[in-house]
Amino acid sequence: MSDEGGGAAGAPTGPRGSLESDPVDVAVGFASALRRAGLEVSLTSALLYAEALSVCDVASRPSLYWAGRAALVHRIEDVDVYDAVFGAFWLGEPLGVSPMAAASVPVVLQVDDADGSDEHGEESPGDTETITLRYSATETLTTKDFADYTDSELEEARRLMERLRFSGPTRPSRRPEPSRSCRGRLDVRRTVRAAMRSGGEPMRMHRRMSGRRPRRLVMLLDVSGSMERYARALLRLVHAAVAGRSRVEAFALGTRLTRLTRELSSRDPDRAMRAASAAVPDWSGGTRLGAGLRAFNDEWGCRGMARGAVVVILSDGWDRGDPAEMSEQMQRLQRVANRVVWVNPLKASPGYAPLARGMAAALPHVDDFVEGHNLESLERLAELVLTDTPRASRPRDGSRAAGTVLAGASA
């Protein structure tokens, strides 16, 4: 198409934004450069970009830059990658290490490799044998502490976790449903439709009432160093929840907040785990729970995501930040959420008391404080999330949750 050939989709090394080339070639070339850097760029977007180039003043750098941003970037998070590729493609700046590529290198989560080899290595000989083995394994697994799991047990546990259903409590929806009984508002539409069939005489009043839909479920997983032994098992739980139903959001809390909903939405657990590990830049790093919760509240939670939702925090409550911040952020979260559930894997340890500063600061603002160290406790968690207890019928200040634990510890 182009006699210059400057913008063809081949491998680039230097600046290739030759403006004399066909806009389609240039656009496709730039789009594939973005894809190589890890962005999702569809062909539709690339063609839209080509169209944009043809009506823009491409000699002006801002115009060139913003046209690409508008047509090719669909999330504010992707802007950094876009900027780097823009510099390399149009201005010939060295690309350096793209943020995406950097994030995908150090994967501390060791489970994935082991999973793969187990699948093929152990399952092939004799089907019956495996089944018996697995059955007994299941028995012991339900009460075994996640911290003591081997990699193959972890894989087994994942299968069991997939069966957990977080179908969740419902809330009234504004989308009405037809009602069979005589309750509800008159559904004029259906009544008139039916009336036509009887020569214009409305024989039956159709009614409808407000429907119900599941509350949003938000899961915040602590991936800091102190949680390392549990995080890998709990991530599978989070995946099972995200893949299992709609309206579930997942985040990793470490030294920073990472949204994992997209990564975990793949039904293939291995792919989801890989994507999630790659997306979190700080596996087993330090803990700044308060700051992480603050980021969640600011960017997502209080803006609407946590409103009326069931929020599940999976963390041991170790926080090196300021306890005042922790308390403040938990208070904010509890004010907008329908219910805040704190799952602490350490809670089951003998003699445990929530003395970690972060945990102590958070407890007064938690509606339910539960264990999460083994499969059995997670099953109970799923049940807990299912039941819809209005907060008004429970102690408002969370003293029930705090009270139980403290009494247990002093005994």
Binding site: T44, P62, A70, P176, T261, C302, G304, M305
Partner: protein, 309 residues
């Protein structure tokens, strides 16, 4: 001011000037996005912090082009009956009874009755249908506000409408837009807008303006505010956005604040009038406390010295 033909704008600068003439100061990024949306006849998806003026863009474009602003406020559970069209059932029923009373209904088969009832005069037009049906005069501006509040199903439906700008009503036939409307979609990001919808749209993230542009915006929106006060207010607001508030003040709030200060007779920002009017800017008790306890005196002093006469 004479309306401009939105479909024949020929440069980013023209968009910039056009919006400016209608009291909106776009930066180059937004002007480019709007220009492309107009030229390529694509919807423009605006995301950004609450209070940065996303909705305002649509109003200003409508003013500029002289077209109608048709607003569809999304909410959970919104469906075709509220977004596209609905039949006026009460009137249909009445019509049916009248026919019956006059004996016209007797002997008529169901098809004929339906033809009579599902007639355009019983059609209640909702925003999407209105936007597509408009055929005369300047193109209307369709604002789909806070699309993230609607459900996935509705988003899919919206995508369908925005792909071919036509709506089919089974009883009446297909309505197709002669000229596609200018479409702006806003989202506060309480959830991700579906990728397919995003691909259909041009995307722009609306950020808080820098202090200098914000001062200009204040002057443009509230001409009674002195230039110095506007600059000081913008300076102070920018500083407060850095403090880490629950709800950092948006442009609308800074304009309110400047107005409030001006109303109290302040020609310049000082600690007394700033703390008295802080309620115009900060809407959370915690934010107010944080700013007063830690930084207000310093922020005000800094803003005052930076823009002294």
């Amino acid at each position: 001011m004479a309306a401009t033909d939105l479909r024949s704008v020929s440069s980013v600068a023209e968009v910039s000037q056009g919006l400016r003439d209608h009291a909106y100061l776009p930066d180059e990024a937004l002007a480019t996005a709007v220009y492309l949306a107009l030229r390529l006849r694509r919807p423009l998806l605006l995301e950004g912090e609450p209070g940065v003026g996303k909705t305002e863009v649509a109003k200003v474009i409508a003013d500029w082009g002289g077209g109608r602003l048709i607003r569809l406020q999304c909410y959970e559970g919104i469906d075709a009956a509220q977004a596209v069209y609905e039949w006026d059932y009460a009137r249909q029923l009445m019509h049916l009874r009248t026919m019956e009373a006059t004996g016209r209904a007797r002997g008529a088969d169901e098809d004929r009755l339906a033809d009579e009832l599902y007639n355009e005069r019983f059609l209640v037009r909702r925003p999407l249908l209105e936007a597509i049906e408009a055929s005369e005069g300047p193109p209307p501006v369709l604002l789909v506000d806070e699309v993230d509040r609607s459900d996935d199903e509705f988003e899919a439906f919206l995508l369908e409408v925005l792909s071919d700008y036509s709506i089919t009503i089974p009883e009446l036939g297909t309505f197709a837009a002669v000229e596609p409307p200018v479409v702006l979609i806003t989202s506060n990001r309480t959830r991700d807008v579906h990728d397919a919808l995003k691909r259909r749209c041009l995307y722009h993230w609306v950020a808080h303006p820098g202090p200098q542009r914000e001062a200009e915006i204040i002057r443009l929106r509230a001409p009674e505010v002195t230039d110095r006060l506007a600059r000081q207010v913008a300076h102070a607001a920018a500083a407060m956005r850095e403090v880490g508030l629950y709800k950092p003040p948006g442009v609308a709030e800074t304009i309110d604040w400047a107005r409030a200060l001006s109303l109290l007779g302040g020609a310049t920002l000082d600690l007394a009038n700033a703390s008295a009017t802080l309620g115009a800017l900060l809407k959370y008790r915690e934010d107010r406390d944080r700013v007063i306890e830690h930084d207000l005196a310093a922020i005000v002093a800094d803003a005052a010295t930076a823009h002294s006469p």
